[in-house]
């Protein structure tokens, strides 16, 4: 490893949501919308004995990327596991909807989602689920005009309904620390049994749902180092590529064919998943 390079690299994973959001925007271009001092807190947590955060764990940063208008929506994974409730979900969905509205008025606003989330916030139940459904619809709307880029850097990863949001985006960027999956490891262990899926076996978990594996099996588009400048450059490159001819969910036929060939009688491991879905390496 090149030590001098490593020492110069600024970790993206170690940043909080606000720092991450501004790290992706052109320097000096960004300002925060519905920031913490507006105190748009969750009204549902305190009655349940949980301290609320002033920004409800979602940062909305508006500015430019590569000189073009952009909004970055960053989830703070340290607050309630990055879970999405009514307020944080509305901040993301509303921003995406306004970005699509911008495009219809001739302003080419693009969006980046920084996803560190376990999915819906259980304490806010249906309101969180509804917000996530609105986010899905808003991504599907915006991506007709501009690419929507998702970054899962880690360490929380991206699970539940928000893994569907990640899959709906035009491009998904992951690091080695990232994990992406519909269900988290403990949920799968509870349902499948510890013999089949041991949530404490970290190499095994990452070999199936880790960032590298998701990239090798074609479910992520870029596999990047934990480097803030490098991730910002990757986001700019992906925007420059424009809207893909087909989004991943529009290739559902391909994925169903692959799934149909999976041998469910055997214990899956990383190598088998790559052979079945991936690029074979």
């Amino acid at each position: 490893m090149d030590t001098s390079q490593l020492l110069k690299t600024v970790s993206f994973i170690e940043m909080g949501a606000r720092e991450r959001a501004f790290a992706l925007l052109d320097p000096g271009s960004g300002h925060e919308l519905i920031g913490p001092f507006e105190r748009m807190k969750s009204p549902w947590l305190e009655p349940q004995g949980i301290a609320a955060q002033a920004d409800d764990g979602v940062v909305v940063a508006k500015g430019s990327i590569g000189g073009q208008p952009a909004v970055v929506l960053a989830i703070e994974g340290s607050f309630q596991g990055g879970s999405l409730g009514e307020v944080g979900g509305a901040k993301i969905a509303g921003s995406l909807e306004l970005a699509a509205e911008d495009n219809r008025r001739g302003v080419p606003t693009r969006a980046v989602l920084l996803l560190e989330t376990g999915g819906v916030r259980l304490q806010e139940a249906n309101l969180g689920l509804a917000a996530i459904a609105e986010i899905h619809a808003a991504i599907a709307d915006l991506r007709r005009h501009q690419p929507v880029v998702a970054v899962v850097a880690g360490t929380v990863g991206c699970f539940g309904g928000m893994s569907v949001a990640a899959a709906l985006c035009s491009y998904l960027v992951v690091t080695r620390e990232a994990r992406v999956g519909l269900n988290g490891p403990q949920v799968i262990e509870q349902e499948a049994g510890i013999e089949e899926y041991d949530s404490r076996d970290r190499p095994f978990i990452w070999s199936l749902s880790g960032g590298e594996q998701r990239f090798r099996t074609g479910l992520a588009d870029r596999y990047v180092e934990d480097d803030a400048a490098g991730i910002a450059a990757t986001v700019r490159e992906l925007f420059a590529q424009g809207v893909p001819a087909q989004h991943r969910d529009q290739r559902i036929g391909e994925f169903l064919d692959l799934l149909a060939r999976v041998d469910t009688a055997r214990q899956p491991d990383g190598a088998y998943a790559r052979a079945a879905f991936g690029k074979g390496n």
């Binding site: 004995g49 609320a52 955060q53 340290s78 607050f79």
Partner: protein, 102 residues
Amino acid sequence: MEKLQFSFPAGPPAQGRVLAGVVGSGDLEVLVEPGQPGQTRVAVNTSVDGCAWLWQAVLERTFTDPGAAALAVEINDFGATPGVVGMRIHQALSELNLAGKA
């Protein structure tokens, strides 16, 4: 869940506002804004009940200077230890000082 209020003598209001920390496990968020002249007010929202005396002790050590800028401080706490509380408050205050707004 407990909501506590504290106040300390202070000078003229601060000029700016800063945020430090996150409402993560064992951590807290500190929001600092300009206060009313002559008084720093601290509002604490904490998930840990029964520790008002501890908050009083930690905050008394921090807001000792009656000539310091008057602040309106909000703390959202998720079970931080007194050491972490002290560090986060000092982080916020030094960022305010760095910005020349205290």
